[in-house]
Symmetry: C2
């Protein structure tokens, strides 16, 4: 048994295909009696509308695409969940792709989404995707940047002030008495990483006697955090920082695993540690982690809202929404 089409339903209900289409899309213009008859026919045939055909006719799909930097990062899964809910309310579904910080993956998903004629794209770009996004917009597929502001301000964006967040983290570390800070994160090509570092640097510059060291990582994940932790633990005590600011919680948790879990160094006594994102696991780590919270839920929701407005109203002025992060203090940065 193959799938039933409008034609089959029409035949069974003794109406035309146009009428079937109408009960599907504008039931109010069809007589109650006919609606009923058609519904029964659909039921009997267990009719399921063919999205491809609908979309071909409409010119675009009822889906929006979302590309995040990392599927393993709870921050992004939170954003995605919020986006899904907001989209569902508006009758759209969300297709998620993870670039894992790779430009080629990002390009691949952008391609797929364009083939799918999605209604719009939500993107946390790896590098500078402006050219590609402009081309898509010219074809009627708008984009809004997520967790990142547009380099040339021609696209809407929903993000959190990473420079402020970075400053907040550094300030907190200094306030609790630390002077030899290290920023662990990378690659700096990721704008979020660069901004957080910049924020921290600006604060350190205002505090004579306080230093900030930069420890690069190949990716902002748990594994790289472990490596960085190992490297720091292997140093001579007088050569070690007394506080570490990790570019995100994944890195911080990795740091905790090698640096501190093995009992090599006491946290926060010997080294304080602060992360970023305040993911669900931050409060349950070896030492509960101080972190900078981002309103992940709000980000996803707002991004969808703006995107849909632009999709229905091309030529709208780009908007930039900038949320403020929030410091969440836990044991990992307790005063000495």
């Amino acid at each position: 048994m193959a799938s039933a089409s409008v034609k089959d339903v029409a035949a069974l209900a003794q109406v035309s295909v146009g009428t079937v289409s109408n009960v599907l899309n504008r039931p109010e213009i069809v007589s109650a009696e006919t609606v009923e008859r058609v519904h029964q026919a659909m039921e009997k045939l267990s009719y399921v509308r063919n999205e491809a055909a609908r979309q071909l006719r409409l010119g675009h799909s009822q889906a929006i695409g979302l590309i995040t930097l990392s599927g393993a990062n709870p921050f992004f899964t939170d954003v995605a969940t919020a986006a899904e809910n907001a989209a569902a309310d508006a009758g759209y579904s969300v297709i998620v792709g993870n670039s894992n910080e790779r430009q080629d993956r990002e390009a691949g998903y952008l391609n797929l989404f364009e083939e799918l004629r999605v209604r719009g794209v939500l993107l946390s770009p790896v590098g500078d995707a402006a050219d590609r996004l402009r081309r898509m917009r010219d074809r009627g597929i708008p984009a809004v940047l997520v967790d990142r502001v547009s380099s040339d301000s021609t696209f809407s964006s929903v993000s959190v002030d990473d420079v402020a967040g970075g400053a907040m983290a550094a300030e907190h570390l200094i306030e609790t008495g630390r002077t030899r800070l290290a920023f662990v994160g990378g690659p700096v090509a990721i704008q979020q990483v660069a901004d957080r570092l910049a924020g921290a640097r600006s604060v350190v510059a205002r505090h004579p006697g306080v230093t900030l060291e930069f420890v690069d990582t190949a990716a902002p994940d748990v594994l790289e955090g472990r490596k960085a932790g190992q490297a720091i633990a292997d140093r001579a005590p007088e050569d070690r920082p007394d506080a570490v600011f990790a570019a995100n919680d994944l890195l911080a948790i990795g740091l905790l695993q090698t640096l501190f879990s093995d009992g090599k160094l006491a946290v926060p006594e010997e080294i304080a540690l602060i992360g970023y994102d305040d993911i669900q696991f931050a409060g349950a780590s070896v030492v509960p982690l101080t972190s900078i919270r981002q309103p992940s839920h709000l980000i996803g929701e707002t991004a969808v809202q703006i995107l849909l407005e632009e999709a229905e109203n091309p030529g709208l002025e780009p908007r930039r929404v900038l949320y403020q992060p929030e410091l969440v203090v836990r044991a990992s940065t307790a005063r000495r």
Copy 2:
């Protein structure tokens, strides 16, 4: 500027649309010279193939649907990532939906996937979806169950022996000297939860003097774990279990947050704790967590492979792949 179609490309390259389609799908039958000309035309128009039209013609899409129980559980995101990679190798993409243990959500995604005419569905069912899946299969959309065996063995499945895993956990707890065990997890309507509990019970039954208490939770997540931890901590000492087996790591981490982090109880001295899944964060929790590891990567990979075989070869005998879990010992269950 709207999107260019095969017709535009054909016109520019001075060939027919049929030829354009051929260079897209069977370039080997087209002369090299023509291929070149068509490619140049595509380039100039930045042609992007319309998936909807292709799919309408083909009768099905180049995507497979995946419905997981929880988007917040790293175990499922691992399965999803593996599935995406395996699918990509075969020229398919994966659309992911999270039911969050809700039947209505699951039904919604099943509907969406059928409208999308996905090539097949990968599903961790909330309840018993057999009827619905059978109907989809009749229409040419096969399904394979993930992390769960089919109740009536008419569907292929890729899962891990949860009964064995539950037994493994209980045995380990007993071996390390605990006698008053508690199983924290729920709802038992989730098969995985029920199986792990059953495995633990069978082991306990073989050990006189050992008891197993069941502590129900509304969902297997961090929040519910916290609540359960609170409840246990509030009991009189002689009334408390000396070991807790959490149905998954999310619950275990939640337990850790209220039960142990607050310094109320020492782990593993006063209470031992074992989780399930061995997610990335298990090794970095307040007390590094002993857990039962599942081969999440293999699960996703194998499921895709079986699904695609069935899609291309309807009427194949259902297969059941059952992997064995593995005990990973960490500090949370150290011998007293």
